[in-house]
């Protein structure tokens, strides 16, 4: 059997009313590889991630995750993917620990995993404070825990390291980084850094692909054009 790619998009489009947020996106990411999605503000990066996360349906084209076509079999891949979006997706009035326990219950994950993760990101002592009282970076750490709680095969990271200090960045490396062995889709506004940790790169401009290449074939020219 040929290995099915972890992520496969063919001619995907998504509109918001008349606005084209994504158009004609095709890309294949093998299991374990990292795809960097680059583009200007409003290029459609977050929209793409939300489509992959099964939170939005595409309006045209085919999406398949782990061999399952979306949106028909979305329920089969949920729970196998983790999303870290712009918003932390945490209840502000609950503590970090309570938030994570809640998600652990939804995902059928044990409460120990919550403790392990909190320890890993250095939040075990601050885990009982309402998220609303935490500093922005601490919230982000908890959000990282939330995204990887169920040990997802696919990770969708939307500027995941924003607000993390250098130390925290290192702490979350085993969870979010390449070493985690997960298939990843990452976005970042630091193209150099993103390309350095990616295998493939997709450039978006106004929702349309400008390039879709192995990361090492992306030239500074490509990047310049993308943001020009």
């Amino acid at each position: 059997m040929v290995d099915t790619p972890a992520i496969e998009l063919r001619g995907v489009a998504r509109f918001f009313g008349e606005r084209i947020a994504l158009r004609n996106i095709s890309v294949i990411v093998p299991a374990g590889a990292t795809l960097a999605v680059l583009g200007r503000n409003g290029a459609g990066k977050s929209t793409l991630l939300r489509v992959l996360a099964t939170l939005l349906r595409q309006h045209a084209g085919e999406v398949s995750l782990l061999g399952e076509p979306l949106p028909q079999r979305a329920f089969a891949v949920r729970g196998r993917l983790g999303l870290l979006a712009h918003e932390p997706l945490l209840y502000r009035d609950l503590s970090g620990r309570e938030n994570l326990r809640y998600h652990a219950r939804l995902h059928g994950v044990s409460a120990e995993r919550v403790e392990d993760l909190l320890r890993e990101v250095g939040m075990e002592r601050r885990g009982d404070e309402p998220v609303r009282l935490l500093s922005r970076g601490m919230v982000q750490r908890v959000a990282v825990c939330r995204a990887v709680l169920h040990d997802p095969e696919i990770l969708l990271l939307d500027e995941a390291r924003a607000n993390l200090d250098p130390g925290a960045s290192e702490l979350v490396e085993p969870l979010l980084g390449r070493a985690s062995g997960r298939t990843r889709v990452i976005t970042s506004h630091d193209p150099q850094a993103a390309l350095a940790e990616a295998d493939f790169a997709l450039g978006l401009r106004d929702g349309r692909p400008t390039f879709s290449l192995p990361a090492d074939q992306v030239t500074p020219e490509h990047v310049r054009e993308l943001y020009a």
């Binding site: 918001f16 009313g17 008349e18 606005r19 084209i20 106004d206």
Partner: protein
């Protein structure tokens, strides 16, 4: 894409004829009611309007079920138009009823007529349908939510009638009952013709509106095809489905 214009002309003519016949019957043929006099003739407009409007609401609910089942946005449009039409007919029913009540009881509004009260509630319910649609930006979500609304409201209609009817301990003595056999022959005939006329009117108007909406959508599709996608406009808001 279906063309709703087909057969519209024939239907229009049929509707017009039926309505003219109905009006003729109402004003020149059917005998005046003994106790209520001339004003009773509004019955032949009021009741059909109300009945057709109710059926229209239920029809809209059924179309909404189809929308959710098939995911075909055109069903949403059909449901929208049906409910919209029913609302107009319903308001017509309410106003004619009010006139009738004022003439025969001296009040614009009475609480002891269960059909009336329950219809008011139903109308109150559906009156939120359009604002509700309007307050949702995403067209797809708008359609989906509106369909859920239409289904829930559709299920609500009969239950509401049941509860309201039972709640009335004393029912106003009635001259006419639709179900009872005491509707005299000419009255029944006139009523039936009126009912058919109003129902046809509903269908015709529904088709007209569908045809108009359809034309507009095809226009836009064409324009997009001609001008390309680069005509980036912010999503425009509308209560009507845009497909």
């Amino acid at each position: 894409m279906p063309t709703y214009g087909k057969g519209l002309r024939g239907l229009s003519i049929l509707t017009l004829t039926t309505i003219v016949v109905a009006l003729t019957l109402v004003f020149f043929w059917v005998p005046q009611d003994a106790s209520q006099g001339f004003i009773q003739k509004i019955f032949y407009i009021h009741v059909p309007l109300a009945i057709v409007s109710l059926c229209g609401f239920v029809f809209g609910g059924i179309l909404a079920v189809m929308h959710l089942r098939t995911g075909d946005r055109r069903y949403d449009m059909r449901s929208y138009v049906a409910i919209h039409m029913s609302l107009i007919f319903g308001v017509g029913g309410l106003i004619t009823g009010s006139i009738w009540a004022k003439a025969s009881w001296g009040h614009w509004w009475v609480w002891n007529e269960p059909t009336l009260v329950s219809f008011l509630i139903v109308l109150l319910m559906y009156a939120t349908y359009t604002p509700f649609r309007f307050s949702i930006e995403d067209p797809e979500r708008q359609g989906r939510y509106a369909s859920v609304f239409a289904i829930v409201a559709g299920a609500f209609v009969p239950l509401n009638f049941l509860a309201v009817r039972l709640a009335q301990q004393y029912v106003h003595p009635r001259v006419l009952t639709l179900t009872g056999g005491n509707l005299p022959g000419p009255m029944r005939l006139t009523f039936t013709v009126s009912l058919i006329g109003v129902a046809l009117l509903f269908v015709t108007l529904w088709k007209y509106e569908m045809a108009a909406k359809n034309a507009r959508i095809q226009m836009r599709t064409l324009r997009r095809r001609l001008l390309g996608d680069d005509d980036l406009r912010p999503p425009q808001r509308s209560a009507a489905p845009t497909l």
